[in-house]
Symmetry: C2
Subunit: 232 residues, 2 copies
């Protein structure tokens, strides 16, 4: 499996490129609009064909590159049925997507938003903003629900093998990956914490709304900026 | 082998943590002063013992965390004989350092600076500021030499197997890794470029000096800030 972690400095967003080494079929998870040219360049230089763009959820902190990538490559865009209506394929909990010889397992992990999905490919788990490194996504907008997030993380993700590698949608400390074992042991919001404690903690954070909320959510429900708008 | 790529957002610096999975002995390559607490936290949470801090060169763009890490853990600091005089161990081209069962091969790659080293561990190559992703380090200060850098990259690094993974000291496009095969094929400064072309290109870049040059170089020759100064 070909694998690349890509970073958008302005929004601290991680995008992931995965591809089947034999068939060269590729998927991008959570691409960022401003990085579409970079991402296409990496895809091309590695001799890959972009088949799939997957969103972990409708993002509030950056605009997706999904729509422009679809226009330029013919890739199909996939996300949750409760997410953006612009997608080509609604993917649901338990589904397994084929990418050449790779198998992408869809795991519903709502709580940060109601449409949040995680994707598992081999030992690599792409958690979006559900489980972050030593943290988790906030739950105070976009139908977020702290109890639901606790259940998603502890009931779905923490039941995966300890050596499962965790690749989040963001990290604000310069950490690039973790493992399920590490998060079970060291995540300060979850290790040894009860559901009640977690709900109270999350509901009392009093955070300012994400800077791009008003722009990003409507744009992302339309799979990002159309080319004309992006070029203006 | 345990492996983590760590990122310092302010200076766009990558620090690398490597460790023997069995003995839990660890090394940090190019730690950043401002990230010492984060790095120690990762080392501790992974159940590792920091034995070694390796510098690829005397940096001009950030202050190293080597000295503080040494003070707090007893780790030994290693770098080139032509680099910082504060080190515990001068490591030279061709030497192989043991870290538990891991073997760290030292490859002299001067040109960005005269003390630049790369480190090879299994298939992972840590290139500092010699070979960057689709780029290379500048050669216009600290005894940099474009011809020497060309020779280091093409003569030493590009002779490694294509599948060797390249982990640079910085990347300014949000790329986190590359391979020798990719850089041989796609690095615009090196793929199909002659030594003469490279020298002319590098000598005509007319870049401003690095922002931290005057602070970083003297500090790094002393292995970074002493604890008292860092706390002030």
């Amino acid at each position: 499996m070909i694998f690349r972690q890509l970073f958008d400095q302005e929004t601290w967003t991680y995008t992931y490129l995965i591809a089947d080494e034999a068939t060269r079929e590729a998927a991008l998870i959570d691409p960022v609009d401003e990085q579409v040219e970079r991402d296409l360049s990496v895809v091309k230089e590695l001799g890959l064909t972009l088949k799939l763009v997957l969103e972990t959820h409708v993002h509030a902190d950056h605009v997706t590159g999904a729509g422009r990538l679809r226009e330029q490559t013919g890739a199909r865009v996939g996300a949750s049925p409760s997410g953006a209506p612009c997608v080509d394929r609604q993917v649901k909990d338990g589904e397994v997507l084929a990418l050449g010889g790779l198998r992408i397992q869809v795991i519903a992990t709502p709580g940060h938003t109601d449409d949040s999905l995680s994707y598992l490919v081999d030992r690599k788990l792409f958690t979006g903003d559900a489980l972050l490194i030593r943290a988790c996504g906030r739950t105070d907008f976009q139908n977020g629900d702290a109890g639901q997030l606790y259940d998603s993380i502890t009931g779905r993700l923490f039941t995966l093998p300890d050596e499962t590698e965790v690749y989040p949608g963001h990290d604000y400390a310069g950490l690039t990956m973790s493992t399920i074992g590490e998060e079970k042991q060291h995540n300060p919001r979850l290790a040894g914490k009860s559901r009640e404690w977690f709900i109270e903690f999350m509901n009392n954070r009093k955070l300012a709304p994400p800077k791009k909320l008003d722009i990003a959510v409507p744009a992302n429900r339309a799979c990002g900026k159309p080319i004309a708008q992006a070029q203006s």
